[in-house]
Amino acid sequence: EPEVTQTPSHQVTQMGQEVILRCVPISNHLYFYWYRQILGQKVEFLVSFYNNEISEKSEIFDDQFSVERPDGSNFTLKIRSTKLEDSAMYFCASSVLEEGTQYFGPGTRLLVL
């Protein structure tokens, strides 16, 4: 069964460093999303992406964040200069249709020291 994959599963970085989180959405899906979940808190929407453009972003998704679909399969989230409060689980999701069910990847746990 096709699934969303994410790499790495865990990443530890120093504050101020750049990180890139990678996602491979399900191959026939056209809509892509990033969510984050700070430990013990709820899953929060970051950004949605379609047709090589950001469709919508939350207030969390500030200038430190960017997304890209560098090729036909990968979907990346870049954090330019990480802060301690960026420590969280980051989930990628994809859907076939704009209003379709979103399927989540296994997540990347990011720890910023």
Binding site: Y35, E99, F104
Partner: protein, 112 residues
């Protein structure tokens, strides 16, 4: 402000018990309500509900939506230890892109 509220926050039951998890919402442009099960990591999809009063079932799990009263329930009958997880309710907001607004989840622990 859009919000999704789940109750209870946590629940401990014994195997064989039946549980009911609640999700209420206030969303500007409701499209659908989804239930996910979150174990170690990623939320896994359970149900999508778009119409009031139509029960969705999958094995021992069932769910129903009330769009008038703005809530949904997730029922699990004959619970098993493998049902222990956080159950997330998400509402799809159709204004703009169809992002999900998640509740805080209900942590269910089923004891043997």
């Amino acid at each position: 402000e859009d919000k999704v509220v789940q109750s209870p926050l946590s629940l401990v039951v014994h195997e064989g018990d039946t549980v009911t998890l609640n999700c209420s919402y206030e969303v500007t442009n409701f499209r659908s309500l989804l239930w996910y099960k979150q174990e170690k990591k990623a939320p896994t999809f359970l149900f999508m509900l778009t119409s009031s009063g139509i029960e969705k079932k999958s094995g021992r799990l069932s769910s129903i939506l009330d769009k008038k009263e703005l809530f949904s329930i997730l029922n699990i009958t004959a619970t098993q230890t493998g049902d222990s997880a956080v159950y997330l309710c998400a509402v799809e907001d159709g204004s703009g892109t169809y992002k999900y607004i998640f509740g805080t989840g209900t942590r269910l622990k089923v004891l043997a």
